[in-house]
Amino acid sequence: MRAHGFKHSTAGPVTKALSLRVAGPVAVLAISVAAAACGSTSATPTATGGGAAATATPASANLLGAKYDTATASSVTLTGAGANSIEPFFESVFYQYSQKNSNTTVNYSPAGSSVGVTDIQQGTVQFGDSEIPMTASQLSAATGGAILQIPVDLGGVAISYNVPGVSKSLDFDGPTLAGIFDGSITNWDDPAIAALNSGVTLPNLAIKAVHRADASGPGYDLDQYLIDTAPAWVAAIGTSTPSRTWPEANVGIGEQLNTGVASYISQSSSAGAIGFVEYGYALQNGFVNAAVKNSAGSYVAPSEASIAAAGAQATSLSATDFNVVNETGAGTYPIANFSWTLVYQKQSDTATGIALGKLFDWVVTTGQGDAAALGYAPLPANVASLAHSTILELESSAGTPLFAS
């Protein structure tokens, strides 16, 4: 409820987002062309053009489709809750799926990743979604048996800022970002920032660091990146285990959800603000995003191609090996992650189980065609097939597979 109310209520940047939606597809088109059109909405499979975006996405019909038609005979309502970061993507794919299959209604409440985990543990929803896969102890607390974790989208965390007069994408490395978020760098003309951005005139303007007031996937990912790259950050927070709750809550200000952070950065009175949001929200708001230093030493801004490049490194992805932060590759954006949908393996209601399987099989295949325009990257082929094989594990309560492989 809280999440929903807040999301709908931060209507402020909407007008801004509207004007940017016009510009959005143009920019995305340019990226798509550069990446050999792997994000185009056409259903024809397209080969990728190599380079950073070596991620072939099967944009063909859903994998289950050969045996199971997408149309469901009787009407089914699927209720889900979870991550706020995936909301722009889910909103779009669920709408499109319901257009194609009017018998399936999907309700998703973007209240936060841990709400997704708690709700699926309690069995109050048919599916949950979390930016971080469930831990072994969380899985053992589930009331309905084994849980399947399906990777459904690939996103990035943008470092967005509002510095009047600076329209260029500024370069940042781990130690500098750590300095900003632990309060040791307090002004935009700080030598540490200037050293990374020679040729840019930085204003004498106080930094207003914005972080998430609630626990979040983007916060976890940035925490992981800073732990990986900045020893001073580890010293400041006193741990090398990333946390969903932002560890340096006493520096700058905290805002609720991606929408709250984005709304603060976008206000003209917030000159000097810098914060982190899911890239999809940064794209909606038309933010200028930082180019962040990756493990190859190059500075890369978030884009479909650079996020896809991070996902391409996840050759052995699983629910226990999910970290794609600070991956290798010159064109790789270093703060990326997969979002995970959570469903019970044993489905007491067969019709619901089949509807869930079909929906998410569509989401991880055809549905990925929408990802690029919304600020996500299509799932790499190996991850899409991991998702598909996970969906095939769905069973009836008697233990018979719902989908014969």
């Binding site: 807040f6 979040s216 006193g238 946390s243 932002w246 560890p247 809550a249 206000q267 003209s268 009175s269």
Partner: protein, 341 residues
Amino acid sequence: MIYEPSPAGPDAVSGLVGAGRSAGVRAALLRRRSRFGDGAYGALRWTGAGLFGAVVLGLLIAIASDSSLAFQHGGLGFVWSGTWNPAADQYGAGILVVGTLITTGVAMVLMVPIGLGTAIFLSELAPRWIAGPLATLIGLLAAVPSIVVGLWGLLVLTPVFANQVEPFLASVPFFGWLFRGEAYGPSILLASAVLAVMTLPTMVALSRTAFAAVPVADREAAMALGATRWQVVRRAVFPAARAGVSAAATLSVGRALGESIAVAMVIGNRPAIPESLTTPGATLGSAIVNQFAEASPGIGTSSIIALGAVLLLLTVAVNAGGQALLRRGSGAHPGTAGALR
């Protein structure tokens, strides 16, 4: 037993009455009917009271049992321990209690004079054609949901505070130190301003009722003794309405202490000792809003519920304190005649 109470209800009974029965029978019917009504009313009353009591009791038991882990872990020190950092599993309500008391206090400093002034204007000075519509408008303010007020604070007041109010206050000589530091916009002061707006309707409506209840004869007596308009209000009306005004203030304080959503949207959510009124802060309510949904199971969740327990105790303490003050105050107050001497 002449007549069994009709299962078809009172209409059927009155139909019988209308069918020309004798007066004695009619009286017996009425008696029977009213005895039945009394019984039903009594049962309803007891059920209602019982249900209400059970809900309050259930609430207290749930809060006590769910927060017990946090109190076992931190002892009573939980209430004043100064570090609130869920990321490191450090839970202490002290900072949040301080933040709650400061925001509420500043909100009352801003609101009470304006609320009282408005109530006096409405009941004593304003012509009827202004007072009526104005009171309705203020009543409407009470009906605005807190998330809407929070949104207004976030989108409308934040830029004004960041660009104008906070820099101006910081530049005021002598008082500037109260407002020093970076002007973020979201701050304790902004949260207090939003709380002041939210509590204003309660203050105005209840104080106005209290003023209206002062007998006209008191006012006329004061005027007959040569009091000016201001003296009438100051010496005759206000002392007599003091209990009601205090009740209005106490209710406002209660609402301000517990407000969560709107505060979380505009306070900046920084659980640290505030350097000044224009730095971001955090309250018990804002911490609950932000962290309950994603609190880690066990000690995390228990600590958030313990914040609720602390908030409950704080509210009870403030209300009890307000009532105690009121009792002492009303005992000492010299009365209308004495005040005019």
